[in-house]
Symmetry: C2
Subunit: 330 residues, 2 copies
Amino acid sequence: VGQRENRPGEFELIERYFRPMAGRAGLGLRDDVALLSPDAGFELAVTVDAIVEGFDFLPDDPPEAIAAKALRVNLSDLAAKGAAPFAYLLALGLPDTWTEAFIARFAAGLAKDQGLFGIDLIGGDMGRSGERLTVTITAFGRVPTGALVTRDGAEIGDTILVTGTIGDAALGLRLRKAGATDADGEDARHLLGRLRYPRPRVELAPVLRRYATAAIDVSDGLVADLAALCDSSGVSAEVDVERVPLSPAAARAVDADAGRLEPILTGGEDYEILFTAASGDAEAAMAEASAMGISCAAIGTIVEGADGPTFLRAGTPMSFRRPGHDHFRP
Amino acid sequence: VGQRENRPGEFELIERYFRPMAGRAGLGLRDDVALLSPDAGFELAVTVDAIVEGFDFLPDDPPEAIAAKALRVNLSDLAAKGAAPFAYLLALGLPDTWTEAFIARFAAGLAKDQGLFGIDLIGGDMGRSGERLTVTITAFGRVPTGALVTRDGAEIGDTILVTGTIGDAALGLRLRKAGATDADGEDARHLLGRLRYPRPRVELAPVLRRYATAAIDVSDGLVADLAALCDSSGVSAEVDVERVPLSPAAARAVDADAGRLEPILTGGEDYEILFTAASGDAEAAMAEASAMGISCAAIGTIVEGADGPTFLRAGTPMSFRRPGHDHFRP
């Protein structure tokens, strides 16, 4: 307790760790609000996501990784909508056991990501949360007026595309729960890394604005997120499971145990982008993504229907015991 | 446990309780972001505040009051800056023990406040929080370009003004901790009501834009918030404690025990507005506030100095054992 009473207060923490990160719109974190002055011709996309200890990350995750994840899940939402992130608010709920060393590393993780993604902290809130660290981020992106990419524009005949690789985070989560660490070899390191450090596809935003008829980031799992996109668009989909892109580590996991295909397709937290494009645009979209260093695969087609997407494996529809990663009822 | 498994999922909760409240910018809560299209000539003021069970409200507070408080502490921040609130995002962390009945009442409380303040829900996040209900709200306000009222413009000779009455919430909190209820008479009802249902002074925003040289809402206590305003402005202040407006209930509490004056001046959560105006404008500011039904009192003067405000009682400076209500280290 004596040691805890020596911890700095809210104002000292802001001064030491967060004020140096503040962008101009944050008024130096010296006032009660941030002030956004959108440029003519642009709209603001805004999203909020909270991550909570024990649910969205584990207590012994590195502080830098917790910071990165809190931020990146929000940047992924903006990217999927064709918006370019520029600022964020941080609401930090500190558990009774917080230490200044933790905050220093957490802030360093945020600072590094600010540089990486070209964004600024513009405000926030800090308070006590009792048992669990809670990090709530509100992120802001710019999008040219009228150009937001929604979920509801997919049309029959559109090609379904997805960036990167699918299922790594879900396999990483299973490893994590089984007690695996980075020391368990290269595949484990890759899969755990994908779980801890999502890579929001912010560079893809202009490509999506140009070609996507609908888009969503893959946070609840490919199956659930494609279902959500189809539901919003009033269409259905057929996916060729063999064309879903897997990392070498995930492919080896499926080779070892074909049962892993279900968590790969239904597990959450890939933070890749799933989008649809007119079939005539699919090649150009893939080429432009590739030119930005983002691999992009065509995995299926939008079809008529209201029954939800079909995932075909060697021509046979798969059925899933648990079609979605539900953050709410794990 | 059986009963818990019958609780609705995230999507059903959104559909039943939150979608009906969604404003146009919220895209029907059917996408991953909200889309704000600021009008030409306006900037956006944005603020975030979290309230956590056991710290900012108590587990047996009415759900409607928890909802109102979460929203209103944010609206108060906007009002103090001269901004007119129009929308908010809700990040809801539900404890393991949540019930649908709680959510229904919580949502009803939000819906009522939306009507009262003319604002819309435009997005959010819902997830599990473990032990404590956590409500994080990001609120958006409009302010004419260049008209934001900051903390840092107070000038020597300015009059210091404050709306409403000070200290009721602090006295309410003491009653609450001592186990008092609304049944303990009219004064208890008044003081507990002020604690549970802050009244953000949103109508005052245009008056502040016209007359205030600096402003802050009184959330950490009159003493601490005036100190923050003075610190930002590079000035000091002299306050005549006899002119600090008290409700009849608070005045009776001080008559009964003069020691109550300290928590009245240093206790938090008044959510009144403290502002400064050129001495020649003070009368007009008070008259315009009064015309809007908001009482407003001149309590002191901005003076030169860097040592923090002086609170004079019968001409003698008061000293406080605990000058600020620290949400962070209660």
